[in-house]
Assembly symmetry: C3
Homo-oligomer: 393 residues x 3
């Protein structure tokens, strides 16, 4: 050995990275899986439930969505209770869906109505109920509840989607607007949920990296404060604009997966105009459903980011590398981000608050309680948010 200076800080010998499983994994029986199962989740557009059985994947569970001839949507376990052929190949009829293999007919709530190869249409057909989940329809979306039946809450209404101005209508979209990439995003949902309380990345990722992706005033470095509400973490970003005015932007990450994000293109100032729900497909995939007040059909869809006029799927790999967006940032954290390797800083206080809010709900559920943001009284008034873009002075 000579007395050369030793290298410090090299990657040699660093420990294997780990992630916080209790905050990220969504399968049945896991802590976060059980917490998320206490809420309703959008699992499709209303039009997705129709006479053609459709595969959906939610919280790690594969299911079949359909709509019977009477207009009733159904969400069933895919493998027929009889011998397991998939109801994806079933025939949708007036009263339910019929398995292709031996013709057992199941209603939207799983009741077996016919067993045509059995004597008397199946004397024991009552006992062969197909596992199902309750559905509701609202705001152009279909909502499912995958949790314990005795904890099923009321499907919430939201004030910002209930009060429409003249000429406004609601529109629902399933293109994962706000995800910055394809419809199905191949990383853990929490990576996107945390992105909601991180207003700083807008200044870097969406401005200096990808050109001014939104509008000029978003590129100004904001003063940021966060506070924890009953069922959300709220972010207040204050920007002094060149003209001396003050731009105040409030966004919220609502329990359990709610995007309450004012339009980053800031077309007009005012209260938030749309809501988004992150749907965890499984531990490594999510998608986003959005509902908003629009003037014209297609307005929401037109909100999808473009770079030089091109949608994400029209860009080359070289362009993705050169002009990364939310999708590239989030998915490159890994299928699940390595929490053991993070160096959180003052600009990450919102993320710390959000994790704590989730952690508290995990504890409540573990102790037999109901998490924040669920309610059981159907007369509960619509949920209010304070999010919006506001110009002052």
């Amino acid at each position: 050995m000579t007395d050369r200076t030793l290298d410090t800080g090299t990657a040699y010998g660093r420990p294997r990275p780990t992630h916080r499983a209790e905050l990220t994994e969504v399968g049945a029986g896991t802590p976060m899986g059980e917490l998320l199962r206490r809420y309703w989740h959008p699992i499709g557009l209303a039009a997705d439930a129709n006479a053609t059985p459709r595969k959906v994947r939610v919280l790690g569970e594969d299911l079949i969505l359909f709509r019977d001839g009477a207009g009733q949507p159904g969400l069933l376990y895919p493998h027929c209770a009889h011998r397991g052929a998939s109801l994806y190949y079933g025939k949708v009829e007036a009263r339910g869906i019929r398995c292709c293999y031996h013709g057992w007919l199941f209603a939207a709530q799983g009741h077996c109505l016919e067993q045509p190869c059995e004597p008397e249409g199946g004397r024991a057909r009552e006992s062969a109920r197909q596992p199902w989940y309750p559905l509701e329809e609202r705001y152009g979306l279909i909502w499912a509840y995958l949790g314990p039946p005795d904890r099923k809450p009321v499907l919430p209404r939201y004030e910002c989607l209930e009060q429409l101005a003249d000429g406004e209508m609601l529109e629902a979209d399933d293109h994962s607007i706000g995800g910055g990439g394809p419809q199905i995003i191949d990383c853990n949902w929490l990576q996107h949920y945390e992105n909601l309380v991180d207003p700083f990345h807008v200044v870097i990722l969406h401005s200096s990296f990808s050109g001014t992706q939104f509008v000029e005033q978003m590129a100004v470095m904001p003063q940021v404060t966060w506070d924890v509400q009953a069922h959300s973490v709220r972010t207040l970003s204050v920007r002094k604009l060149p003209d001396g005015k003050t731009f105040r932007r409030i966004s919220e990450a609502g329990l359990p997966t709610l995007r309450v994000i004012p339009n980053p293109r800031v077309g007009s100032y005012g209260m938030v105009e749309s809501l988004g729900w992150i749907l965890p497909i499984d531990d490594h995939h999510f998608r986003i459903y959005v509902v908003g007040r629009v003037k014209e059909k297609g307005d929401l869809h037109r909100m999808r980011s473009r770079l030089g006029g091109k949608l994400w799927e029209e860009l080359t790999e070289e362009e993705h590398q050169r002009y990364p967006g939310d999708y590239e940032a989030m998915t490159s954290q890994g299928p699940i981000a390595h929490h053991s390797e993070e160096h959180l800083a003052t600009s990450d206080r919102g993320i710390v608050m959000l994790r704590r809010l989730l952690q508290r709900q995990l504890e409540v559920v573990a102790q037999g309680g109901d998490p924040a943001g669920v309610f059981f009284d159907p007369d509960t008034p619509p949920v209010k948010f304070t999010a919006g873009n506001f110009l002052e002075g």
Copy 2:
């Protein structure tokens, strides 16, 4: 909590599905793997063994099939006994197959005949025998025995393939006729074997779902009885036809994987005209070899199902969903069906009998005995079946 009615029968909290490993898994050393290894299995058409080494996969084992210059077929472990290069890259010669890497030459029964880079052609070459399996050829197929040498039975003959009428010939086919899909079917072999004792699915899957896939009389709901023979489960389906006649159809599922299924197109009544053997490729894949008496070359191949004139591989995913057949029903049960979730009914009695027949053979083998359907006397007469389509009255 309000006193709303609780949802019952939902998919929440259902246990993880399981399968019966002892009936389905085929690897060496597993119960079913050892049972299946007591029988000869067809592993290729006679023409598949030729001067070009061919990869075959049987019961979870990868092997190389070839035919030496003297016409002797060989089935060898793929990795050369020397240093493991694959004999797939070998050169077939008069006396055997030569490894590409260092030229060791192996005969059909694995004897190492030459080691050209060794002094005197390898003084110890006797000790480097390549693992092999015995083969026989019959009915246009190549048969392999993968079991313990001291239990090797006689390769059976079958009466229905031995007695040819004038103008009849035998034809062998490897397109998995009867599987309703591609040549290699991606689910466990038992799903298809059980399909053989299930005459009811014909009325639903092959009639109301896919249109009249076979002939009109098959769409009539039959009266079905089953009985267990020494080495098969036999299904008798009786149909009263509109013209007052009685259509009796007998099919058999023979040990260990035998399809004894009369032509479902019922071109002419009479005894069964072809036999099929399900070859378990591994736990999640199988294929079917068929031999039949035909009038013209290609008759067997023309038996493959068509929908609107199109073969399975010519249909779109939408058409597969809308007009499912055996392939869709079987594979959608999963790579291996979830036996823990079944609700077997009276129409599934044949399946219960077949599983019991298999279960009994597993016990016999575990106790050191020989399973039903194997025999050791080369003078044993050909195996007879009673299967056929018969018209009465």
Copy 3:
């Protein structure tokens, strides 16, 4: 049972194959992984380090290679120390690479220089150092040291690359010349390393199988002896040529992954003209970097094997089967060769010696020592080899 002769040597009941993990697996913390981490490895051409971040994979580790505006190359752990977004999407600047997500800027040695969303550019930025590895550049390649900092040796020089004749220049190539296949070869590195001390396969694989792949004199069966040097295994192949002359060929497998192989096309006799380094990408993949003395740019690249004028990637699967080369022989041994099933013979003595040489180095490292072939004195003279093609008599 009859008294038929029993089959012997069949594949029934053979044990599951195993490999020698300590000689093959390269991950951090494994015996061979730690031994390999005591040496410098080439990880790219000098030109690969530029302003576009590049993914490289070395010894099972994913890393990002770049070159800052001052010309300094850097090799960093891919996930940003802040919140884990990949530096593959980073922007290369004068002083380092900036993460796309929140703009943290890292120097080539991982120091965090800026945290633009933090007060005062990040008061604690010193503590957020990005894991990095030291690099050096030589012979047109970039070399990395992934081992313990206190054991970092001097990057060797090699005599055969230091002494250039008039009109000669050095050329570096990354097409895995000598691997006989694509740039990335999908099997364990040891399979190729062992190939270096195996002169006999040239006579079979490269002559009788693929036609005369090299030159006629290589097809003559050689007399071979091996000896173990301080940091290599040396192979001497002596061939009596038809004209009575003696062709002596010496090649070496140097520690840890060095190819010291004279040109098998034997254009001119003399000392070895190029060196190759096998880079283990991970347990199941490797590639080869080569540096050689050439007369014209592109000479090295023109050394790639062709069959009927076609490069490996231009051949069909049928041609690969019919005319196998090193790639087919090596990869068909499996992702990692099955050492438990080998039958090593006298022609494999070089392989036995090479494994023992590796085994001894594993022991030295386990006991806290430094393996053969590393040195710490920067004034150590260039490494010499005796390899070459020589004509005598």
